[in-house]
């Protein structure tokens, strides 16, 4: 098992209590209504919010363990997180955005151009995010994420900001790119069809609990 999550967190309307694992190369869809705890689960794995209790392990390393008082800071978790808004840095060019997560400076240039080419955005390298369409911004966010070579990839409603036509053309491409990355992937969505199309398996979340 690559990613193991077993956490508990009391939220305003319900308690999030979730237990699952994702293996290498698997794309697991986390399905549920808005406000069912999907994003909270991703944020807990990324270390953005702190669960009240439980354990999170990634490739055998403990990221969080409430009993052993382990809480690895987000910076050291090596998680790839694509925000719903993409969260591109507005004052950096596309190339600078993609370069942000590359740890080895000697490979920075090469890694940036490889990932820009992979997602067909090399011609936008010197543009700023606000001059790009939603679909192009999504590719930049994905290129930035992949360039950081994460140990797990988490996508929060990756298509919610896109129109339908664009979705269809992007989805196939995104799927093959993700499959090639070879790490566990968590895909959050409220759209059942989207999850079925994409994911190897899906988990249904309702009011903080997984439905059988």
């Amino acid at each position: 098992m690559e990613l193991e999550v077993s956490i508990k967190k009391t939220l305003k309307d319900f308690t999030l209590e979730i237990d699952f694992s994702v293996s290498k190369g698997e794309i697991v869809g986390l399905l549920g209504e808005s406000g069912s705890g999907k994003s909270m689960t991703l944020k807990s794995i990324a270390g953005i919010v702190r669960p009240d209790g439980g354990v999170i392990r990634l490739n055998g390393t403990t990221l969080f363990d409430s009993e052993r008082k382990i809480d690895v800071p987000t910076r050291n978790r090596n998680v790839g997180y694509m925000f719903q808004s993409y969260a591109l840095f507005p004052y950096m060019t596309v190339a600078q955005n993609v370069a942000c997560g590359i740890k080895d400076p000697s490979k920075r240039k090469e890694t940036v151009s490889r990932n820009l080419e992979l997602l067909h955005i090399d011609k936008f390298a010197d543009r700023y995010p606000r001059h790009l369409s939603g679909g192009q911004q999504q590719r930049v966010a994905l290129a930035r994420l992949l360039a950081a070579s994460p140990s797990v990839i988490m996508l929060d409603e990756p298509f919610s900001a896109l129109d339908n036509e664009l979705k269809d053309s992007l989805q196939e491409e995104l799927k093959s790119t993700l499959e090639r990355s070879g790490c566990p992937i968590l895909f959050v969505s409220h759209n059942r069809e989207e999850v079925q199309r994409y994911c190897t398996r899906s988990l249904h979340l309702s009011e903080g609990r997984l439905l059988p």
Binding site: Y91, R144, A148, P150
Partner: protein, 219 residues
């Protein structure tokens, strides 16, 4: 021959104070973002206080701190750097009165920075220092610049605290506001008019320059 000394004394005090306040105010604002609870509240009050206290009260405190009767003042005096009635005092007074404007401006600007950008940077493994320099600072820049413009204007117009700790020594500590006050008090309206015009022009030019750079940062 018209004596231009107040212009140079004012510019020296204001520019130096702006540089110091820019660094201190930005750092203080960044520091306060990480501190939560009662201590944060105490710090915020402390950093904002110079804005609401009368300048004469600030001058009084500065006299107490830097005066020759205190340990600190004596130390500086013995080291050959007496503060009271020196040109350094004009800078110190300007720093103290203009600091809250820079601090408030920078703090507001940092609070406006999109938290998702900060978290995205953390997931990418960027250091907190890297995030501050590359993500937060550029996004907060227009607000920081607005704070700097206000503190520059405040430092240039500083009168009360300066009079108390730097005095009104022509050619040494007499700033433009001081020259205006004493020219008017002495009935020399021509000199007063000249300085009023000069300080108005300097203020307008400074604000125009900062607005220009602020707009440039946005587009």
């Amino acid at each position: 021959m018209f004596d231009y000394a107040p212009l140079w004394i004012s510019l020296r005090a204001t520019v130096l104070a702006a540089v110091i306040v820019f660094a201190l105010g930005t750092l203080a604002a960044r520091l306060c973002l990480d501190i939560r609870g009662r201590f944060a509240w105490v710090l915020d009050v402390l950093f904002t206080l110079p804005m609401v206290l009368p300048p004469t009260v600030l001058g009084f405190f500065l006299l107490v701190i830097f005066g020759r009767n205190t340990f600190f003042g004596k130390l500086l005096s013995d080291a050959g750097m007496p503060v009271i009635f020196s040109w350094h005092a004009t800078v110190i007074a300007a720093v103290v009165v203009s600091f809250p404007l820079m601090y408030k401006g920078a703090k507001g600007a940092f609070e406006q920075v999109d938290q998702e950008h900060v978290w995205a940077a953390r997931t990418l493994g960027m250091s907190e220092f890297g995030i501050f320099v590359k993500v937060m600072f550029p996004e907060a820049w227009p607000g920081i610049l607005a704070g700097l413009a206000l503190s520059f204007a405040r430092a240039l117009g500083e009168f009360g605290a300066t009079l108390m700790i730097a005095g009104n020594i022509p050619g040494k500590t007499q700033t433009i506001p001081m020259a205006i006050y004493f020219a008017t008090a002495g009935g020399d309206m021509r000199t007063a008019w000249i300085w009023v015009a000069v300080i108005t022009i300097v203020s307008c030019v400074a604000l125009a320059v900062m607005n220009h750079f602020g707009n440039k940062g946005r587009s």
